[in-house]
Symmetry: C2
Subunit: 291 residues, 2 copies
């Protein structure tokens, strides 16, 4: 009996440890299952192509229109513009040459820019294709100096925090050098700031949420067209993604909760003494594969 | 002594259970911490702007270059092209008019297209800005008929599964109508298929992974420029995101594991009898807000 009672605590301890191990393992397996089962329950969302909006899926009406849009819309004949092959080659070459002169410019002058040009470049961006033709974009154009300055304050404050945290002690002795990274004078000087918001969902006539699939890809494609349109018009910008500023800027500009900031483009003419980094682009053979 | 030894197992059991509870709680807290601490440990990645690649972060070298690129690169003076205001207005208007004629065309003829035009439109796309100038894109251009047909088989098989699963019984009596959605003849007939891959990470000289932040936004912007370049050259396409086909198409085209399919664009001329859905675009006042 003494032998038995002296063994009991050891036995109980072993059982408890085993139970602990089993509990932990089950928990880990549950987590694993939770992760791996996602693609199975939502087969129409390619894992490669999710854009951060699919976590809304469970709560919302599925977007029945995606690629099925045509079902309820009449089709009409399409007559395309046709150029000769020589013209096509010439046009494609000069378009490449035009775009190849584009550079991201951080030093923008305060010279005014005709409003009509801004209207036209945004019209051009609005011709972009979008998933299920949802056109999930809002272009907020800020020209009011006070509002531009408030935007600058928000962006610079966050940027300073970002830089200091990132760089830590490594650059602590080179504050001046760092400073050029978070001071963004162009937010005051550029005659226009274009803030591009993606609408991550919309509303159906019955008030239910309708997820905009591929909204980030769609709005980014529209921004590519916008950048091409700016370059074509002789206007310059720098493509920026203001870190951690999205919610504050959304509130400042009174945008609804279904809109998220994607990009901020200051737009204007380069300053007389503007500089750009001496970068080159990859040659065609490094970006294209012909099969 | 008997009293003591009969208490011991109970005592040990209680201790063990307590240890178990504490272990589990610690574990849960660790998980919670892992989740909530992410923004703190990676302050330069805006939660609104993550593009699905940031789960690689823990294993990889941080991308020190993001927005800090300028530090190690020489700066050179920038001289911009300058147009008169009248010219700017005229150029911006005709560019908008050009792009406004773009339509997604599913009915593409098998007429050949000069290879030089394809080179030039991809050169144009390659002028796009990208996070930290990583240029994280690969344009795979397929002209081989057998390869095009294999792509068609992969895409149609997945599309059929997608449609049947999505539609379920609702459309079971209208298979013919459904069929138009997953049969993609243009994958055979278009003289070129352009498959655009985003490089979600690269390699540093020391072999370590380097996450390409904003790679999806960057590559989508490049696709916007590509679509504008195609339209400018008189070529047509339909923007497609082949659902669930990414891994199969990547393997078929021998692309490395760091590349993920973003878009597939069949490129050519519209067929003589091509139709498009009778859609309109939102007017400027619905997409632009001036402040």
């Amino acid at each position: 009996m003494a032998f038995f009672s002296s063994l009991t605590p050891v036995f109980v301890a072993i059982v408890c440890v085993l139970i602990g191990v089993i509990l932990k393992k089950t928990n880990r397996e549950k987590e694993k299952r939770d992760t791996t089962s996602k693609p199975i329950s939502r087969p129409w969302v390619d894992e490669d192509l999710r854009d951060g909006t699919d976590h809304h899926l469970e709560e919302e009406e599925n977007d029945e229109e995606w690629q099925g849009l045509d079902e309820n819309v009449a089709h009409v004949p399409f007559v395309a513009e046709r150029y000769s092959e020589a013209e096509m080659i010439k046009r494609s070459r000069s378009f490449y040459e035009l775009l190849s002169k584009r550079r991201s410019v951080r030093f923008l002058s305060d010279e005014s820019v005709p409003r009509e040009v801004i209207d036209n470049v945004i019209r051009a961006a609005g011709t972009s294709p979008s998933g299920a033709h949802t056109e999930p974009w809002t272009f907020v154009v800020v020209q009011d100096p006070d509002l531009k300055h408030k935007i600058r304050e928000i962006v610079e404050e966050e940027e300073e925090i970002n830089y200091k945290k990132r760089m830590g002690d490594r650059w602590v002795n080179d504050l001046k050098r760092l400073r050029t990274n978070w001071v963004k004078e162009y937010l005051d000087t550029a005659p226009y700031l274009i803030l591009i918001f993606k609408q991550v969902y919309g509303r159906l006539p019955n008030g239910k949420k309708k997820t905009h699939y591929y909204n980030e890809i769609s709005v980014s494609i529209a921004c590519g067209m916008l950048l091409a349109a700016l370059q074509n018009a002789g206007l310059y910008t720098v493509t920026t993604t203001p870190l951690n500023c999205g919610p504050q800027l959304r509130a400042l500009l009174h945008r609804p909760v279904n809109e998220k900031l994607l990009l901020l483009l200051p737009v204007g003419y380069p300053k007389k003494d503007a500089t750009v980094p001496a970068l080159t682009r990859k040659p065609l053979e490094d970006i294209m594969v012909m099969m």
